[in-house]
């Protein structure tokens, strides 16, 4: 069976675009400039999710060893094609996750694996990867702040705005929402 290719796909939060290929043997992303490759073999692929992010849609792939890879830049129209490829090649269902666009600043925090998800009416508003948290702080009784490490050096031109810190107001006194670990 032939390989299917998707263009203009990003790996993780990188600004480098690349090609994403799906074949019966597995899937792989290859960067256009760096030639860096992210490969996932068919026997390792466990699950896949489809989720709206800033750069259109994200394909999120879960591996048997709990590794998780994210690829941004898929178009809405790619969904059906991708869904049937995943089904036919790897026997997995592309699960769509719903995202909140309500514009509210209140919700519920939920630890999901390595991420802290902020949920608004049972839909995800955003996720914070906990391994990017450089420092966390409890200020007063109801405030928790998370500071982020910035891997970028600010030289890349197409770089987005860097989030440095987020502060939560947690009215409930019984539960401390501080992250268990810090880097």
């Amino acid at each position: 069976m032939a390989t299917t290719q998707f263009d203009q796909i990003y790996h993780g939060l990188s600004t480098e675009v690349g090609k994403f290929r799906v074949a019966p043997s597995g899937m792989a992303w290859k960067g256009a400039d760096s030639e860096g490759v992210v490969a996932m073999s068919s026997t390792d692929i466990k699950w896949a999710q489809w989720i709206r992010v800033a750069r259109n849609f994200q394909l999120r792939v879960g591996m048997r060893d709990h590794r998780k890879e994210k690829f941004d830049g898929f178009l809405r129209e790619d969904h059906d094609k991708l869904s049937s490829l995943l089904k036919n090649h790897f026997g997995i269902t592309l699960e769509a996750r719903e995202v909140s666009f309500k514009g509210w600043n209140w919700g519920v925090t939920d630890f999901q694996g390595e991420d802290l998800a902020f949920m608004v009416q049972d839909k995800v508003a955003f996720e914070l990867p906990l391994r990017h948290v450089a420092n966390s702080n409890i200020a007063g009784r109801t405030e928790v702040s998370l500071e982020f490490a910035n891997p970028s050096t600010g030289r890349a031109k197409g770089l987005g705005d860097e989030m440095m810190e987020i502060r939560f107001h947690v009215p409930g006194t019984q539960k401390s929402k501080a992250t268990g670990s810090d880097a």
């Binding site: 939060l13 992010v53 519920v108 508003a125 955003f126 109801t142």
Partner: protein, 136 residues
């Protein structure tokens, strides 16, 4: 729609009905002000996260070294605003985002964004004021 009641009534608002309504500019992973939707869209770890102007309290900006920092402060319960009636909350026991801070080497852009948000907030306050006057 619930009938208008004065005072501490929670007024429901929302930025977008669905993902298709997000402006295309969000793919640059930069803060974007959508005047039509009365919304500021923040890039948070790859997500484009809308915040309706009603949730925003103010913005502050400062320059430090090679970077400009922008901090967006949100309305949360327990703040000493002096006008309690204007800040009712649907669920005061929820977790609230109180502030988010960004940095950029482009001071001019952050200056511009800061002005846009302040302007949007002013307009929203003005409309709110007019509505109140009409109701009287």
């Amino acid at each position: 729609a619930s009938g208008p009641r004065e005072g501490k009534t929670w007024k429901r608002f929302q930025s977008f009905k669905g993902e298709a309504a997000l402006p295309p500019e969000v793919d640059r992973l930069r803060i974007h002000v959508d005047r039509k939707a009365q919304t500021v869209i923040l890039p948070i770890h790859g997500f484009a996260v809308p915040f309706h102007i009603n949730t925003i309290k103010n913005v502050s900006k400062n320059d430090e070294g090679d970077f400009t920092y922008l901090r967006i402060n949100f309305q949360t319960p327990g703040q000493l605003t002096g006008k309690k009636d204007d800040t009712p909350f649907e669920d005061p026991d929820a977790t609230f985002i109180r502030s988010v801070s960004y940095r950029s080497p482009d001071s001019h852009r952050f200056d511009n964004i800061s002005k846009q948000i302040t302007e949007l907030k002013k307009e929203a306050n003005k409309r709110e004021q007019q509505k109140k006057e009409m109701a009287d």
